[in-house]
Symmetry: C2
Subunit: 416 residues, 2 copies
Amino acid sequence: MEVIERANQEALRRMLTADPVLIDVLPARDVLTDLGERTILHAGPPIDWPRMCGPMQGAIAGIAVFEGWARDLKEAEALAVEGAFDFRPNHDFDAVGPMTGMTTRSQPVMIVENRTTGNRSYCTINEGLGKVMRFGGNDAEVLNRLRWLRDVLGPAMGAALRQSEGIPLKALVARGLTMGDEMHQRNVACSGLLLRALSPELARVATDMEALAKSLAFIGGNDQFFLNIAMAMGKAIMDPVRDIEGSTIVTAMSRNGTDFGIRVSGTGDTWYTAPVEMPEGLYFPGFGPEHANPDMGDSTIVETIGLGGFAMAAAPAVAGFVGAGAASDAALFTRDMGEITVGENPEWTIPSLDYQGVPTGIDIRLVVESNIAPTINTGIAHKEPGRGQVGAGVVKAPLACFEAALSGIAERLNVE
Amino acid sequence: MEVIERANQEALRRMLTADPVLIDVLPARDVLTDLGERTILHAGPPIDWPRMCGPMQGAIAGIAVFEGWARDLKEAEALAVEGAFDFRPNHDFDAVGPMTGMTTRSQPVMIVENRTTGNRSYCTINEGLGKVMRFGGNDAEVLNRLRWLRDVLGPAMGAALRQSEGIPLKALVARGLTMGDEMHQRNVACSGLLLRALSPELARVATDMEALAKSLAFIGGNDQFFLNIAMAMGKAIMDPVRDIEGSTIVTAMSRNGTDFGIRVSGTGDTWYTAPVEMPEGLYFPGFGPEHANPDMGDSTIVETIGLGGFAMAAAPAVAGFVGAGAASDAALFTRDMGEITVGENPEWTIPSLDYQGVPTGIDIRLVVESNIAPTINTGIAHKEPGRGQVGAGVVKAPLACFEAALSGIAERLNVE
């Protein structure tokens, strides 16, 4: 239908003209409008405590202790059961969060502004690998790291960014694609490029050399540091696409560990959900599929902008890490994603494909017609609270979400 | 012949077991044994003033002013003509230098130690792009930058490295190969990885925040910063291979802008030379082949260890930069270099080739038999003194060097 084609071209235009810039880091309470006193933002579509998976319940207990709402994990759990907390999706607050996606008042959030449209998006700072809150970790080590992010690194990054002109992300990501990153499970290049841009500014605002050294070492020692920035960037790019009448372009894919949900431009902020799938991947030593929680996190926003599994061809080394087959087969994933997208991004190109742009703009019609589900590169959390990451893999977005969304669009266009 | 095969396997073994670590930065006079008062080390095989190309003469005039041996470029030139300076190859002092390769007493040199064998190699700090001394630049801007490297960055890097355990380079380069670097014309990943490792140490020894910020910005703003470290690493890896009786493995390739020279293990430190060729490549706006100087520099040491043109498959983005054809053809160069090498490096692998190791150990017999010359990725200097870089390209090592070296080996083995 012509109305749909036109709407989708407009959606693609908005995506390709976005100009995301990392501009600041501030406490969530200062920037997330209407964030309540005991509100806990989580990844994925809306969900209540009883239906939450183990790692998300574990993260919630941990973050409640971190915020001082409970003395210990046990009390925190009891409060959660009693309904003392207000659980809301990050996406309702212009935010995104990886895996469990905990965002609360005192956590610092990185701010990405889309300078084309003026909207801003938010994401917490990446904690590193292993036992971390986004994978359900909640012990003293996890909480102490969050305190250091809140008290030291967050304020330092904020001060550094405020005295800079911000760090434009479009060109940085373009560069990262020529350096083997796909910006979901592989961010080592972009993390390094970010450190290059940020480290002189961090030095200029530093007063304590040892604190500066620790900040530089933390960023430099975390290959996934850029992931949370890529996510805020994805949200900043997609938010202006959320309301185009008739458009069948996916504006968000997200999972809370129980449900997988998508939003589509032509149906605004409606979530279309289906039971989330289990990633297929590789496990860290000592772990296997029997320990794995189903797929989780807002990080799939990067696939909606053509990165992650869609840009696998740029990152042959990630194919092995996520158990997606031979490195030389990485290009096949990108080719497949070309079947379900409406365009390519001429500014985000892949050298090994002779500078073909990443497949951009998931059209739910193409997904349903082809039965090709979006490929997502993801981390795998332990299914029990408090345990952390156990592997990485590839997961398919459930086709049922796309079928339901297509019905939703048809209804609105009266073509049912 | 069996003696040659055995010798070459020993050469390969020494190369693959090398453990190069960046350990310090110190003034050349403190570490280059027997460096004379008015000695100027240059790239390539030995050469006298009258036969030197324009950019090398320009660099010599500049470095003489920098060292205080002349008041201005004119006086420096006159002194050079009179024989006031002692010109010696870097390779005679365990050193290497990019392009013109100027190394003199007061310049800081980075020190790479091969921890397997204990030998050390040296290279000056990379100056950045454009009008720089290694490309023949010699004006006030060039000299002021050298002063800052001498007075600020060099001492800071030295202090930072001395209080660390050194930066192991083998693993860092392995990582860089998964991030699109080939370590000759593309070092953006390794430069970033180096900054990650070095920046916390730089912060710990810093006393002046603005100086630290400038140092971080200089390293972070120079995509080729790692090149000089890769070169010192190459020298540190190859030096223990210099004296294996009967070995036909190339231990150094180098050019002074007039002659191309190679050294072969079985003939020790003898240079086999031939007229250097002109790179074929791409020029910066406003320049063309008519401005180009023939090939120059010690940087070809990286090809002797399997990087640069030999690792082109790892760096599809470099193919376009050096004008070597389509990015998707980059693998062809690596395949060709497999024809003239005796092994692969199992620790330096290329994801897109399903982790095939880089072709390692150039055998002059294979070069002569196949007529396949080593492929070198190189920068292109303006042929006039004082002008700087005008492009980048690919150059072939002249076959005549390899033929002459093969005769030399045959003579020593009495098989002529």
